[in-house]
């Protein structure tokens, strides 16, 4: 075998050999590569695919003592319970609303920021700004949430100090059902808007500079250049990121909500991920929350697959 392998490496592949022998020869020649993949495959099976199979407890009444196989089948009972509970519609609504606000208010910010950054002609100034704007991306929601809570505290926060100075009544932002979602979205912008400019800036850098020259020749001022050259140049990047965002409509990150929420705003802050955690891990309602998780994953899967179709139909390169 070893001889074959070394021989084969040196000589061009001979096509006269029977295909079955060729197959094993190829496998043997690449045995190092397959050896690397064995632990990877084991990992995928055990930690990625086994939990998928574990979703069947959504159709059972799972009890720890009985195990997955011993627990009785209940068909769609858990889903029935889910769809008839008020909680379900509340967390679904909160999840979709927070995502919708994000799409409207947060999604355009990195585009605007990238356009402004792209116009900066002083290289060191641009680089410094970028590096400063990227910082929050690398910090955890727990840290950023703590800072937001401290800053907005009605008694000791700087924002309320400012409001008092302006003669306004301080607001307890974090406990207000209107201001909590606003804070949620704003803090999301704070964390990700800067980092989100990277892809747009890269797309802008690949725009043909002669287009700008031509626009200038035609007398277009800065705003018109941005409108007629820069924006069309990043159109496909915007489209892909927008569609990806839509594909994530069912998911609000656990940590951001967990870091910012408090009992006063549960009615607007409880989303699917936090609800699954509280009901499942804390209250041990395993089957019920698995049903909710499965519902969420399936919708997300449908969304992302259709989104990929749309991207391809629009003539852009798909996600896969």
């Amino acid at each position: 075998m070893n001889q074959h392998a070394t021989l084969d490496a040196k000589l061009p592949e001979s096509k006269r050999e029977p295909s079955r022998r060729l197959f094993w020869k190829q496998v043997s020649r690449n045995r190092f590569l397959y050896m690397l993949l064995v632990p990877v495959a084991a990992y995928l099976l055990l930690f990625k695919y086994a939990p998928m199979a574990g979703e069947i407890i959504a159709f059972k009444n799972y009890r720890l003592a009985d195990g997955i196989w011993g627990s009785p089948w209940v068909g769609f009972e858990q889903f029935g319970k889910l769809f008839s509970s008020k909680d379900f519609y509340a967390v679904l609504r909160n999840t979709l609303l927070l995502n919708l606000y994000h799409l409207i208010f947060a999604f355009p910010v990195p585009i605007l920021l990238a356009i402004l950054l792209n116009e900066v002609r002083i290289e060191w100034y641009k680089r410094t700004l970028q590096n400063l704007l990227y910082i929050p991306h690398f910090l955890s929601w727990i840290v950023l949430g703590s800072i937001v809570i401290a800053l907005l505290s009605p008694s000791t926060g700087f924002v309320s100090f400012l409001m008092k100075g302006l003669g306004l009544e301080p607001i307890y932002f974090m406990a207000d059902k209107f201001w909590w979602p606003v804070t949620f979205i704003a803090s999301g912008i704070w964390k990700e808007a800067g980092f989100g400019t990277i892809l747009y800036l890269a797309a802008m850098a690949s725009i043909d500079p002669t287009l700008f020259e031509a626009a200038k020749m035609d007398g277009a001022n800065k705003l018109r250049q941005i409108w007629h050259v820069t924006l069309p140049g990043i159109r496909s990047t915007i489209a892909i990121l927008l569609i990806l965002q839509v594909g994530r409509m069912m998911d609000v990150g656990f940590e951001q909500v967990y870091a910012l929420r408090n009992p006063a705003v549960t009615s607007v802050a409880e989303v699917i991920s936090t609800y699954v955690y509280t009901r499942g891990i804390v209250n041990l309602q395993y089957s019920y929350t698995t049903a909710l998780g499965l519902f969420q994953s399936l919708i997300a899967l449908i969304l992302i697959v259709s989104v990929n179709r749309i991207i391809k139909a629009l003539g852009e390169r798909g996600l896969w």
Binding site: P51, L139, A150, S153, K222
Partner: protein, 302 residues
Amino acid sequence: MVTSGKALKKPPHRGGFSSKAFHWVNYLVLALCAYATLFPFVNIIAVSFSSSRAINAAEVFMWPIEFNMNAYVNLLKDGQLLVAMKNTALITLVGTALNMLFTIMAAYPLSKSRLRGRNFMLMAILFTMLFSGGLIPNFLLINSLGLVNTYWALWLPALISAYNMFVMKSFLEGLPDELEESAQIDGAGDATILWKIVLPLSKPVIAALTLFYAVGWWNSYMNVLIYIRNTDKLSLMVKLHQMIALVSPDMLRSGEGLMQTVITPEGIRAAAVVIAITPILCVYPFLQKHFIKGVLLGSVKG
């Protein structure tokens, strides 16, 4: 908009008035954005060094008032945060090393188009990005493996990030085949080629991915919350959250947290936040050139 008619005859040069004004406004707006991004950090640092009287009067802006380090002294005396920091360092080191090992083990073979079964594996990995087993089945798996309350419960399920694996794979695909071929002719085995030729050439992508994985581990919160039960094994972020969000003086005042008896003073919470972000801010200047590369590599093929 302003001078379109004239400009047709005589193209405006770089220093035209409207262009200059645009640049000045633009620089100003961006400086304000950067200021707004950084102000909260500056403020929390200033608070952490201020006296509790100044904090309670909400006087602290960008500079400590009545400078003192009591908050830090108290935190260090208590020691819990230091333990959590040590735990997090361990979680980060081992986690990142395992991540890189497995990411390379997956990405290198899968970057070879001659490999049979490659497409099947790639599809299997891609599918894990689109659909996952969900929180509860994962928890039950870890539970039945007896991993609860060990750090393996954090490391093992997260050995490979599919996204990072694809980034690595597309980078490796971009390396010229001739290098490996000539090494093969010189009699080098696959393992030698990977170790001596491929990995040294992959330094940029290895740096970027190491950074992404390590930051993720340093910030790890949710999985620790779920899987780690011992207080002395908790990670920094969980400890921080326990200190901060759960018992806030505001909640107490508004009657939400009346059951809570311990209140962490604002100054100490601020100091804890500062301690938690310091390591990231310290390594940030050295790493910033790598992550941009990493993000762009990912966007080429994802």
